[in-house]
Amino acid sequence: MTPDEILGQLKQKFGDAIGETEVREVEVRLTTTSEHAREVCRLLHELGFEYLNCLSGADWVTHLEVVYDLSSLRHPNKAHVRVKVNREDPLVRTVSDLWRAADWHERECYDMFGIRFDRHPDHRRILLSEDWVGYPLRKDYADERMVPYTEYGMEEKIAKSEAAKGAAKAPAAPPPKPAAS
């Protein structure tokens, strides 16, 4: 089965529910809505994608996203399904009954992004403690202990410009005397 045939079958069944599509070598990439996510996954499962490589989330500020990476042990095709989820009440139907690998991945996704998975058998946080407040991988999560990223060479530039300002105001301190040996 070629990636185009897979895409054709999906489009035939779901029509407008399939958003942007792209075929990159053996990989089918598509987006869909959260209502159809499970049905799309089920069809892909029936088409031989019996292996769930990765299930992850992403925060696009305007909305959240669940990303499924699927592959098969029988044919070389891969699938990359992205599901838009609304940010206020993120809810997707679980796929842990299709792939049990999704069980822990979905728990992690809930842990980090706060996306809830409907009918998940064991809906708890997994890596963080039960009483943790907030969802750390959301872009608006704030914690004063986080070290922000600075551009390469930025620190030196700031130090130099500040040194130049200091030099204009007051002469630089004399170099320390060498210690008596």
Binding site: Y51, L73, P76, R124, Y152
Partner: protein, 384 residues
Amino acid sequence: MEKAQVPVPIGTTVTVERLGETMEEMYVNMGPQHPSTHGVLRLLLKLDGEVITDCIPYLGYLHRCHEKIGENRSYPQIVPYTDRLDYLASMSMNFGYVLAVERLMGQKIPERAEHMRVILGELQRIASHLLWLGTFGLDLGNFTIFIYCFREREMILDLFEAVSGQRLNYSFYRIGGMAMDFPDGWVADCRAFLKWFKPRIPEYDALVTDNILFRKRLQGVGVLDPESSVNYGLSGPMLRGAGIKWDLRRNDPYSIYDRFEFDIPVFDSCDVWARFLVRRQEMIESVKIIEQALDRLPAGEVLAKMPKTIKPPAGQIYARTESPRGELGFYLISDGSPKPYRYKVRSPAFCSLSAVHEMMKGCLVADAVAILGSVDIVLGEIDR
């Protein structure tokens, strides 16, 4: 979300009816501080007498916000963080990460660097399997094999130290190639090690593989059928121990693995014994790959010309490699800036651990250690 269900407190017993008699089920904690969990992992075992009826893993004791840190660092800055994922196979972790970034950029790397990557990656696989075999023996009460394995692993660490100056966290792979070339005489040292290492496998066989006590502890324990193995997303030696011939080096070749001749060991008894045999055989196959790569090692540059600031074009990639523990995936979203927008690690041991409760059901408490050992977990990459 509603408050999570907290299981019955430790030490309490639950009365159950079975065969018309009243029995007591008991919850016992294994870990977080337990020598056989190879890190900080807590397993809550539900016991009916000596039989395990359920097992609930609790993880996260080693969580270090790896993915959040990744979002706040530039692409080259993440390489040293990947070392700390699976600290027993840092080279393989570096390999997976740089490969993902290079694919995102469409970057070609020099031939010599490709060969160096394969050589170091396979040496790392041997080192990782040796450590696994040693500690697995230790878990099962065979202390001798531990000493033997560490002797050989030490030699590999010496080779790595000569290359990178580090013994555990190498950070030797760079986006676009390798940090530097092999030092003078390293190739000869590596060949000498392989010559020394090959006759050691029969030595291990005499100690463990042919040891009837060792066999009896492993055979028929921790069985998980092939369909469930795929469904749980197991990979690497776990999948090959379930009779499925699946190796990303052969089935989805990356780097230059399609140029080497090697076999994929498969054993189909689906138990701890099969996984043991797969890893034992893999060490021999890795030696074959290293020898071929050393023979063909071309001269030339080891680092491609790279821009000072690495800015991959906007896009998404899921790149997977075969680490000693199985399928290691890196999922990256780039928005064209010098740091990743989203950085996710698909850890092989995370998926394997999620199937542990299936393997443990119906086994004896004494086998729990053997089953957990056969999964080959490293909490650094599970908890991230």
